[in-house]
């Protein structure tokens, strides 16, 4: 396929679009609330009303407000329907072009939508994830053609560097720097890997994106492959995401059939093939060296860095590993330029970030905002605050590696540095709102139990340390801990943080440290009075079953 063919395909698809459309969300959140039946009934209702040529019913990806699913949107009316039951289909079709179906209509202009930005999610809820034509009709794959025809690989790397894009997996490493390292390193083969092992509990950004707009990620990977000189790539997806896997497989097949991926892609001398690797339920595999071990069919154990994957990655070859959302930013940067992208966000954190706002909050769902947006805007205006009369106590970001940000810091700007200063991290994008009824020590134990279960067991500080920390937290919750136990807890946190091999262990104490920092009295008020040293020494650090 060449650029002319692509343009014709886009034009053909745009011409074939009906004047009215009904979009029904078929991402995992809504499908588990029965949206497939809603979709069938909508299609049937359109047919029954004799409107088949005038109204197109399309199965689309995430419409963001997950708590109100199944969601249905109509164009050009601009209505958004909440909690649609299969029986509502006729009324929705009957309401097209007039006032709509009042009983289920939500407010499409509410702050939840009005305050959001759209860079990564601009196609979400618009393209049909299983039809590549709909992606192409929205300028899909034009960035790839532009790059292959007009830019040299160093120019592409330079553009990414200038955009200021930082890794969206959590650590925030500058993407351009990573790309230039892989591009510089010599190797017989090079690989591009997309990390879609979204393991943080309470985070589903990557899943939604892959289910809603898989081609955007493929296009980003294809551009990266050209920039660094790779000819094969892997997407490592969680096994818990069957729908995302199925849609990715379809997308790869369709892109291959059109000659956008594979041998001599896009009529260029370059080859790039993408394979899917399905994860098997190990949180540690989100860590890049463990992820590579898993792709190579091994136990997912991390290895010390250096050497970094950019030097010695898959099968000893230079390997570029980026998160799903990082790749999804690339097509827009190439189409609209680094300066445009760098104009969004703050000085050090450019662009937008997708968050999953969940927990004790009125509007749960997918939220994309420019970096630098105050946390309060996200959880109170967009999220709608705690349902009922409750008040926010803290917001947890960054999953088991992150921390709890207390209510007094809600005006913090959400960027990599500011969150770091508060003892949390940006993380992959989970944002869990906790109300005043939440027990912070219990939350700390919840995350520590998670890390204990997920520790791969390779290094002792993490394997044994997380077990001991869980025990200590349990003692505090059971009100049998002494002040010495609290001291031990703090020194052990320090040890696990500094002595663990990989990110899992190094960040595992964060939820404890951040709750200690802001909610210390919840710990101290449960300690046993009196200074009797009880059992503090009976918790040896190394003798574990």
């Amino acid at each position: 396929m060449d650029l002319q063919d692509l343009r014709e395909l886009a034009e053909k698809e745009r011409r074939s679009q009906a004047p009215r459309s009904i979009r029904c969300c078929v991402a995992a959140g809504c499908t588990s609330a029965n949206s497939m039946a809603v979709l069938d009934n909508l299609q049937q209702a359109v047919q029954d009303a004799g409107l088949k040529d005038k109204v197109h019913v399309s199965p689309v990806g995430c419409l963001r407000l997950c708590c109100e699913g199944p969601l249905v949107a109509t164009d050009p009316d601009g209505h958004l329907y909440h909690k649609v039951a299969p029986g509502d289909a006729e009324a929705i079709v009957a309401g097209l072009g007039n006032g709509g179906f009042a009983a289920r209509r939500g407010d499409a202009a509410s702050p939840f939508f009005a305050l959001q930005a759209s860079v990564v999610l601009d196609n979400c809820g618009h393209v049909e994830p299983e039809r590549i034509e709909t992606y192409i009709a929205r300028d899909g794959y034009t960035a790839l053609f532009k790059v292959l025809r007009e830019m040299s690989p160093p120019q592409v790397v330079d553009e990414v560097t200038r955009s200021g894009l930082r890794g969206r997996g959590g650590a925030g490493y500058p993407t351009g720097v990573k790309w230039s390292m892989v591009a510089k390193n010599q190797g017989d083969r090079k690989f591009v890997v997309c990390n879609a092992d979204e393991g943080d509990p309470g985070a589903f950004m990557n899943r939604s994106l892959l289910e809603s707009d898989p081609h955007k990620v493929l296009e980003g990977m294809a551009i990266a492959a050209y920039a660094v000189g790779a000819s094969s790539g892997y997407i490592y997806v969680r096994g818990e995401y069957p729908l995302a896997i199925a849609r990715l497989k379809t997308a790869i097949k369709q892109a291959g059939r059109l000659g956008l991926l594979g041998t001599h892609r896009c009529n260029s001398p370059f080859d790039f093939r993408i394979d899917i690797r399905i994860g098997a339920g190990a949180f540690v595999c989100g860590e890049e060296t463990a992820l590579m071990a898993s792709i190579m069919g091994e136990r997912g154990l991390p290895t010390p860095r250096p050497p970094y994957p950019a030097e010695k990655g898959l099968w000893g070859c230079p390997t570029l590993i980026n998160n799903v959302e990082t790749f999804a930013n690339i097509p827009a940067i190439m189409r609209q330029g680094a300066d445009w992208f760098a104009g969004i966000g703050t000085d050090s954190s450019k662009g937008t970030k997708v968050f999953c706002v969940t927990g004790k909050v009125k509007n749960t769902g997918l939220v994309e905002v420019p970096l630098g947006t105050p946390l309060r805007t996200i959880v109170e205006d967009i999220g709608g605050g705690v349902p009922g009369n409750g008040r926010i106590k803290a917001v947890q970001t960054g999953g088991p590696s992150g921390g709890c940000i207390p209510a007094q810091h809600l005006d913090t700007s959400v960027d990599y540095e500011a969150l770091g200063q508060l003892g949390s991290i940006m993380g992959s994008g989970g944002m869990i709102v906790m109300d005043e009824g939440t027990d912070m020590v219990d939350v700390a134990r919840f995350f520590m139990t998670f890390c204990m279960d997920e520790s791969c067991g390779k290094c002792i500080p993490c394997r044994a340390g997380t077990v001991q920390l869980t025990h200590l937290l349990t003692r505090i919750i059971d009100k049998v801990a002494t002040p010495q136990d609290l001291e031990l807890l703090e020194s052990l946190c320090d040890m696990v943080k500094n002595a663990s091999l990989c990110g899992l262990g190094q960040t595992a104490p964060n939820p404890v440290l951040s709750t200690l920092r802001y909610f210390r009295d919840e710990y101290t008020s449960r300690l046993r009075a009196g200074g009797v040293v009880r059992r503090a020494l009976a918790l040896p650090l190394v003798s574990l079953s």
């Binding site: 959140g29 708590c67 509990p201 098997a280 339920g281 004790k360």
Partner: protein, 165 residues
């Protein structure tokens, strides 16, 4: 190479292994395929895979036991998977496995003695919008409470037909 049992599923698995033989590091893919065919990974099946892929059995066993997704024991007639993600947790999902475990006399991650029910937990299912979420025999239900969950589970334990909650 074929399996003495004559079970046709081994034939299918063999084809998968052959297909993957050209690619390095396909063991996890093959284990996924095997679990899909057989439901769980019996030791005999792991030996079969080791021979087929020309790998030491220790390696196959090591990989199969490392990942939570692979099960070396058969699952019960019905499965109840409780999401233990953070969003579900802050909305009270912590109570759910406890309630089921108590009512069904089964431990988390295990199957009742009569083989009726497996109680499993999952890391975030990504259905945080309907937290707490559970998956009952493969279909997802939101807003679970100990009461509505137990009702369903007790129906299963009594040997009733598989119905959705």
């Amino acid at each position: 190479m074929s399996h003495p049992s004559g079970d046709k599923r081994f034939k299918i698995l063999e084809t998968t292994m052959k297909k993957h033989q050209l690619l390095p590091g396909a063991l996890i893919e093959v284990l996924h395929a095997a679990q899909e065919l057989f439901g769980y990974l019996e030791l005999d099946l792991l030996y079969f895979i080791a021979r087929g892929m020309k790998l030491p059995p220790s390696k196959v066993y090591g990989v199969a036991t490392f990942y939570h997704f692979f099960s070396l024991k058969p699952k019960g007639e019905h499965t109840c998977v409780v999401c233990t993600g953070t969003a579900c947790y802050v909305k009270g999902a912590g109570e759910l496995p406890r309630a089921v475990a108590e009512a069904a006399h089964v431990k988390e991650g295990e199957t009742t003695a009569n083989g009726k029910l497996s109680l499993l937990t999952a890391r975030c299912l990504g259905a945080c919008g309907m937290a707490p979420a559970v998956v009952l025999d493969g279909s997802m239900k939101g807003h679970a409470t100990p009461d509505n969950l137990l009702q369903q589970v007790q129906g299963w334990l009594a040997g009733g037909p598989a119905r959705s909650a």
